[in-house]
C-alpha cells in the first residue's frame, strides 16, 4: 500500500499590495506545471495573490540555524547602521 514519493515544492506568492513574493508553504507535485496548479488551489482560494513561484525544495540552500550566532554576528555590533544611533537636536524636528 506504500505510496511513491512525489517531489516537494516551496510556494511563494506576491500579494495584491505590491510586496515581494513571500513564502507561504509547500506542496507535493510531479512537475512544475502541476505544482503551479496545486499552489493556486491550495494557497489562493481567496484571491491571496497575483503571482506564484514554485521552487523545488531541494534547490534551496539554507543557512544552518545552529550557526546563526556566527552567521549574523557581523550585524550584532554595528548599532551605527541604525538611524537612532545619531543625535539630531530637538529644534530640528523630524528628520
Amino acid at each position: 500500500m506504500a505510496t511513491p514519493n512525489v517531489p516537494l515544492w516551496e510556494v511563494f506568492i506576491r500579494s495584491r499590495n505590491g510586496l515581494a513574493h513571500k513564502h507561504v508553504g509547500s506542496l507535493h507535485a510531479a512537475d512544475s506545471t502541476l505544482a503551479l496548479q496545486a499552489a493556486r488551489d491550495i494557497y489562493t482560494r481567496r484571491g491571496e495573490g497575483l503571482s506564484i513561484w514554485v521552487v523545488p525544495s531541494n534547490a534551496i540552500t539554507a543557512s544552518d540555524p545552529s550557526e546563526k550566532g556566527m552567521m549574523f554576528e557581523p550585524a550584532e555590533s554595528k548599532i551605527y547602521r541604525h538611524p537612532t544611533f545619531y543625535d539630531v537636536p530637538d529644534e530640528v524636528g523630524h528628520m
Binding site: N5, V6, P7, L27, A29, D31
Partner: protein, 330 residues
Amino acid sequence: MYTQALNSSDGDDRGVEDVARASQFQARIDADERIEPNDWMPAAYRKTLTRQISQHAHSEIVGMLPEGNWITRAPSLRRKAALLAKVQDECGHGLYLYAAAETLGTSREELVDGMLSGKAKYSSIFNYPTLTWADIGTIGWLVDGAAIMNQIPLCRCSYGPYARAMIRVCKEESFHQRQGFEIMVTLCRGTAEQKAMAQNALDRWWWPVLMMFGPPDQVSQHSDTSTKWKIKRFSNDELRQKFIDATVPQAEFLGLTIPDPGTKQNENGNWVHSPIDWDEFKQVLAGNGPCNRDRLAARRKAHDEGAWVREAAMAYAEKRKSRQLAQAAE
C-alpha cells in the same frame, strides 16, 4: 479544523536526551521562542507533534466525507456553492497540516499510509453520519465552532510550522461556522418540520461535539508535557467550558433546546452540563462508531482509484525530464 485532545505526549524518553540541550530547549520555549524544523528538539517533542499534526490533517481529510455527502443534495445553488467551497477548504487545511507535519521528518506518504491502514487516528466526530440537511448546518455551527475554540490557541503553539498553518486555517474557519449558523437560522425560521429537523440534528450532535475536546482533565494524564512545551495552552475542560458558554445562548436564539436537562448556569455564569458518556467516545475511537468503517473504506477507495493519476503524472514528469536531458546533450 479539528485537532482533538486525544494526543498523549511521550514523556518517557526525555531522561535519555542530552540534559543540557533539553534544558536549553525548554528555556527557548519558556521565552516564547518558536521552534523551527532544523532546530534541535527532544525526540518526544518531535513524536508528539508529528502525531498531533498528522491526526489533525487526517481529521480535515476525513472531515470532507460527512459534508461531501450533501453537496449534490444542497437545497439551493447558494448553499451548494458554499458547501463545496467549505469542503475544498477542509482539503486545503489538511494539506497545510500535512506539510507542517512533514517538516518533522516523516514523509507525506508514510503519514497518509498511517491513516489508510487505520493505524493513525482522526477526530471521533467524523464517525457520525449526516442524516439530514440540518446536519450540515449543525456541523458548521457546532463542529466548526468547537474546532475554532481548539485551534485559536494553536496559532501560538511553540512549533513554528504548525502555528503558521493554524493561522491560515483559523482565518478561513470563521466562514464555515457562519455558513452553518445561517443554515440553522433559516431552518428554525422555516416550517415546523424544518425546525424539528434542526432540533433533531442538535439532539444527535450535541454530545459527540462535547467529546471533541477530549477526556476530562483529571483523566488526561498526558497534557502536562504538552502544556510545558506550549503545544497545548488550555486544558480540555477549559476549552469545553468556553465552547458551552458560547453555544448555549446561540441555541436559545435559534429557539432550540440543548438535549441535556442538566444544562444550567452556575453562580459564575458558566453553563454546566451532565456527565458525558465517555464509553461512547472510547468505542468510537476504537473503531466502533456508526461510520468508522465507511470512512476508511471511502478514503482507501479514493486513494486506490487515484493511483493511476499519480503514476501517470510521475511517468510524464520523468519522460519530459529525460527528453530535456537528451536535448541538452545534443
